[in-house]
Amino acid sequence: MTYIMRQLNKVMLVMFAAMFAAMLAANSAQAALKIDITQGNIEPLAIALVPFDGAEIPQGSQSSQGQASAIGQDIVQLVQSNLERSGLFRAVERRSFIQTDLRANVRPRFGDWRIINAQALVSGQTKQMPDGSLIVSFRLWDVFAQERMAGWQYSTTPENWRDIGHLISDAIYERLTGESGYFYSRIVYVDESGPKDDRKKRLAIMDQDGYNPQLITSGKTLSLTPRFSPNSQEITYLSYAEDKPRVYLLNIETGQQEVVGDFPGMTFAPRFSPDGQKIIMSLERNGNSNIYTLDLRTRVTKRLTSTLAIDTAPCYAPDGARIVFESDRAGRQQLYVMEANGRNVERISFGLGRYATPVWSPRGDLIAFTKQYKGRFLIGVMRPDGSGERILTEGYHNEGPAWSPNGRVLSFFRESKGEKGGPKLWTVDVTGYNERPLSTPGFASDPAWSPLIK
């Protein structure tokens, strides 16, 4: 669990927000630059990212200044990749910059940036301190309004520069879209290796952009469908340990795990409740699958559905009041919503084909699903009342959408055909216009996104 320890020890991230807070508040009311990300296929906002300057170091050596400068370059590159991956931003070519001497602590010559059609501008500085710590500051400017929109300073150790890059990316995204970001987050998934008829499936965690992948279970037992707890400290998943498919709870800090509940049959399709106090899952008994909750404190189990159908893939609404799930009670898999106590079940999917793996957006406004239609597997979204269905991607096999913490992007897996085929992770935004592969070391499936890291 060295990875986890690193995460824990990480980042005693100190943010000196106060510096700019007053200015921010003053500017926010009149800030003109804003992206409306609810519109499909928008024109990306042109943002110029100036290489961070490695500043003079008090009593520092030449070499550490070089290192700070190199880290500054890396951070800018990471911020650019994050912003461009979102599909909402376009980085202005560095070659076209007119002002090439912009330092972090000075006001830009806005005319120089306007003329190359940069709408937003980011400058910054990395500073290595004598104690080895790294101070990173950045500023976001509105080129046309000629105003500073945001500015933050972070202190960390140099190894954690990627985290700083993700925090800066979130700050820029939040300031320009008015929505919370999603870059400083992780994805847990199933790492798949070996031939298709003898595939090892292990849990792995990586940063949201595919960096730092780490295996967290061994290849000895089949592991499937991992999901984060709301505080990101635990994962619930399906393990075939002892040749019994059962839901487990894995603490990613300590590596300790336990079976969730003592049930006679197979337990599967687990997820946490939004308050983290319960696990909701399917229990199979004599071939019949129904939905149950288990209270993690009291260990009380509660049965929520009682049908002869396959009732599975339950997922809470973010307020915990309702649950969406799939059932074949009407003949084929369809989506249903019920109250958290199991009452007032209503079918919400009525389109052609079959609907599965519903996931409620953390914003509450949409439910994402896998749809099978005419032998194809599609990823789509609909409102919780079933209206407004939109298909975001389709193909031979797409499955298992998972929401980004801000509810604007979905990760899912796409499987290629045949003996040599296998699943890979992808992301698509809710407009469906920005679909991208998410790189993993090998085949990967069942992605689940963590909340934003605090």
Binding site: D243, E284, N288, S289
Partner: protein, 152 residues
């Protein structure tokens, strides 16, 4: 390795086990030899698997016939069965786990109805996680929609 080679190996292995059993004339060896024989016998002579149509856990006439043979065989062989339910890859993960469980239980219930004690039968679902036939076509998917009986 060819099927013939495998078969030869299996014959050699069982022969050597029998040989050891004769030399030692110990009961533990003979029981092991007969057990190994029965596990292979189930696969080779009785038939260890039945197949299903898409989304279905209904046992067709062919499947029922195969399970009748399994039930007869179970009556003369003191073994337990692990019944493994499987699905093809053309479904979602959770659903296929549930579907595999339905299939394994359909097999179990039918064997029990033929007079075999349920205490000798255990079911498990592997969903779509254990394909044996790998092409992206119905001829492969139909081989994966199966329940396999494993003698223990």
């Amino acid at each position: 390795m060819s099927f013939q080679a495998l078969k030869n190996m299996a014959v050699m292995v069982s022969m050597s086990v029998v040989l050891v059993a004769c030399v030692n004339s110990g009961t533990s060896y003979t029981s092991r030899a007969s057990k190994e024989g029965t596990v292979k016998e189930l696969v080779r002579n009785v038939g260890d698997r039945v197949f299903f149509s898409t989304d279905s856990s209904t046992l067709n006439a062919t499947a029922r016939g195969a399970l009748q043979k399994q039930a007869e065989w179970l009556k003369s062989n003191n073994v337990r069965l692990k019944i493994e339910g499987n699905a093809d890859e053309r479904g979602t993960r959770d659903y296929n786990l549930a579907l595999g469980a339905r299939r394994a239980n359909a097999v179990r219930d039918y064997i029990v109805s033929l007079g075999v004690s349920p205490s000798r039968l255990r079911t498990i679902s592997y969903g779509k996680e254990r394909p044996v036939s790998l092409c992206a076509a119905e001829r492969c998917w139909s081989k994966n929609r199966r329940a396999v009986s494993v003698a223990r």
